[in-house]
Symmetry: C2
Subunit: 584 residues, 2 copies
Amino acid sequence: MSGKQSKTVEEEFIEFNIPEVGPDGKELTKTARKKLLAKAKKDAKRPQQTQQQSKQKGEAVDSSAGNYGTLPLIRSQERTNKKFSRVQTLNASNVGETVRIRARLSALRDQNRFIFLTLRQQSASIQAISMKPNSNQMMNFIRKLSVESIIDVEGTLASPEKGPVTSTTQQEVEIHVSALWLVNSSLPELPIQLEDAERPYPLIAAQKKEIKSIKLEIENLQKKFANAQTDEEKNAIKTEISLLEKKKADAQKYVIIGKATRLDNRVLDLRTLANQAIFRISGGVATLFREFLTKENFVEIHTPKLLGTASEGGADVFRVSYFNGSACLAQSPQLYKQMCISADFDRVWEIGPVFRAEKSQTRRHLTEFIGLDLEMAIYEHYHEVLDLFDALFVFIFDGIKERFAHELEVVRKQYPTPAFEYHRPSLRLKWPEAIALLRENGINWGDLDDFDTPTEVRLGELVKAKYGTDFYMLDRFPLHIRPFYTMPAPDDPVYSNSYDFFMRGQEILSGAQRIHDPELLVQRAIEKEVDPVTLKDYVNSFKYGAYPHGGGGIGLERVVMLYLGVPNIQYTSLFPRTMVRLTP
Amino acid sequence: MSGKQSKTVEEEFIEFNIPEVGPDGKELTKTARKKLLAKAKKDAKRPQQTQQQSKQKGEAVDSSAGNYGTLPLIRSQERTNKKFSRVQTLNASNVGETVRIRARLSALRDQNRFIFLTLRQQSASIQAISMKPNSNQMMNFIRKLSVESIIDVEGTLASPEKGPVTSTTQQEVEIHVSALWLVNSSLPELPIQLEDAERPYPLIAAQKKEIKSIKLEIENLQKKFANAQTDEEKNAIKTEISLLEKKKADAQKYVIIGKATRLDNRVLDLRTLANQAIFRISGGVATLFREFLTKENFVEIHTPKLLGTASEGGADVFRVSYFNGSACLAQSPQLYKQMCISADFDRVWEIGPVFRAEKSQTRRHLTEFIGLDLEMAIYEHYHEVLDLFDALFVFIFDGIKERFAHELEVVRKQYPTPAFEYHRPSLRLKWPEAIALLRENGINWGDLDDFDTPTEVRLGELVKAKYGTDFYMLDRFPLHIRPFYTMPAPDDPVYSNSYDFFMRGQEILSGAQRIHDPELLVQRAIEKEVDPVTLKDYVNSFKYGAYPHGGGGIGLERVVMLYLGVPNIQYTSLFPRTMVRLTP
């Protein structure tokens, strides 16, 4: 802001337009006026240039005065009930209408006489153009706005002259700006650029791969150089290396944001179109889960997360200081949802956090995740539960496709993945069939050995190749690899009435018929080295008449990750928690 | 179990009907037969008498053989797809049909030639009668069943001869039993009787009050006795005391189950009709909350419960061991739901556990409860949030009445409370109006003093008397009693843009416009003695363009408790957690 050479206070009063009389009509003291002057000077130092300040600069009369500027901090000073439109609702049928929008300034392209603005609301965006008759002062104000600022834009909705706008979601309309107010400014320097955060994953992967291979070539040449005998040879290698160095520089087209940087700046990262879509789909999965189960007469429950004892065995449990004693965080609602069956709720579901102090740092582990749990009384056979789960998953998969077509498209732009394939009814395999399939394909696996991750993934590929489905249920797990409360199979002591489900070859659900006989339960706990004393309330709950029952628990973040083909589970948790991450 | 005097093994083989030939047609060894005998003897010791055992006792031929007995433990041995009916669907239109039901044996009344059974499924019940032509053996088997056992009953649906059955929910029909199988037996001795757990609260309260007053009378007489001068006087007092002792004994009509006993045996306690209804209503409140917000374009979020720092101030926070470091449990999703607004989600809701290490042991405090939280961007004024909340609460209150009429009736049988009254739109008072109302009624309260609980409750009574509503919103709280992130009022520095909602005079929601300006936020944190260093990620989230926003958090258990008039919040939490309770 210009003209700040030493001036008298009176000159500054004039320059900064400090009134002589207050709002109450009374003359202001010099001290009061000086206070106002100090405030005006402070305001003038802000990066944004308001209409008032333009005036003060002694420029030509501002024909746009009153149509732009910085709004005071919104503290509910007044309520005018101004109407604001939502970007996603605007289309060609609105052309000619005057609209008002509050949105994030997503991008700004200054072409001098035209300033193109991209306005973003969640996963919808629209182009706005400021041009004549907007004054030069207004144009200058706009071109200095920081991207990611929140602005109010008023203008006329028009059809884009040069055809559909390809860079925004609302392609048939644009806004010709008549007024623009800065609501809340972003700092001009962003820790990460949304453009970088949104870049399609294959482009990044390809760039990483290319650079890695060039680096390898250079390393090899450097070794060759060290062994070179003649100067001629050496010079030739040098030239080759410098060409490769240039090639490497050229290959670095994109800024690649590492996972840690992305998650350190999660609030900005979550603004990307893909993330806006991912978390709407995540909410959708939960909604579909609830809808289906409510129709099936399930009751919502909330079981405690603070427990007196680590009831599913002491490993992987977080300990909490509890007043003068201690508590544990629930590793699942398992025992409590079963107790709700003993408490006559018949069919229950819960959506809530699950805490696992696992020292795994894989792509699919979180220390806190959202469990979608259900438990139900059965009449005769645990396949009653499998039937229900089957219909539930088909309902969820169908629902995602039907209700989130736009979001799926948006996510696939950043993470292109083949559409998720599934059967109806779902494919069900028995444990021995899975072992046979592995062996047919040259993997020599023990009859009752638990899968490691690579084998699990390989099995998923073989299932996909043979049956054409990304989703299957694996039934009848060996008893020795299941928790103590799993019902042993009635016909063969090495198997159990239990199952896992898999999406794209990775486990997303574990479940079983549970033991509802207190004696058998205690016996199995002892065999599995779980102290029955810690299970007192749980075991007792089956002593006063217990229904046969079964159920399972789904990991929400895994379902979303695997359905969408997102590369890491931390990207499907809003604020992921791992062994090494507790912030933001 | 007669006839166990010393017999030869061969005699016992005959008595216990031990076969000479196995299922494979081969003759059994004596050892094998002895094993079978041992098993048969063990079975005979069980309280239930099966058809086989009846036969063995050499009684007359059992005409009901094959129609009753104890089923083996259901381990999914087979799947016959037998059809089972639900109690609540049975009505007069089904008379004459044959039905099969699996239910809990809720009560058994043996009238020798008729055995009346009450079968219960959740909050529905039906009467079943066993009589001729069922055999004596079958009648004997049935009369020995423990209540709370799970049984399968088959029979014909009939109209009750003597008119509607008043003791069950299905009053127009009863089952004439033709077959009955014990699925899972309850221990015969229950730690609490459901009849006692279900007794209407006023009866218990009246009994308690009466006994207390008799005890007081006795104490007074005992004092009088100690001071009595003459034998005549003493004898008169003695007579009076013994009359009162008798009166006291007579007054103890009902077994009163204390809160601790009730909660120690929560699985049994939850089986009461009122509890079955309470938790269906609780799920209903959550469903109504979600339905309304989904229609209003809110997005479901799940924010982390494990935090790196105690971000809302260090008091009342639970500490967790986190691998080699430590973490805190979230006292609310407050900061994270706001960060989701900065992350462009526009409008968000969360239902999840909230952890408070408060040392309060009142009727309305839990250390873990379910928060129904929402946060939304606003355009101009935080009353946009109040308007939304207003419509939301009316929707919830209407929804409970419409969808849970049966459950309300059931709860009111145990906890009779006047129907919940509310206005549409809801009553809104400003803080100074509340103070004025208190003063008008002789309570001298400071302009800006926070309410203590008795004053809060008294205010609720005054509001109810003056306006006729059990629900109201109190707006414009003094700034000094609100958290640091509350937006100060624009027109008066002592007030803030914040509000609480009350049901039957008790707070169930707290909310506000939040500060979205990072500088003001830090300034207010310092003024409130919260270390801004612990708020880094939160404050930073407002630096890159922040929407003005507001919201609030609802305590689910409180809403249910106060709507229903249940006397303690621990009764509206499935497995409540308090300072002194971490089990079951």
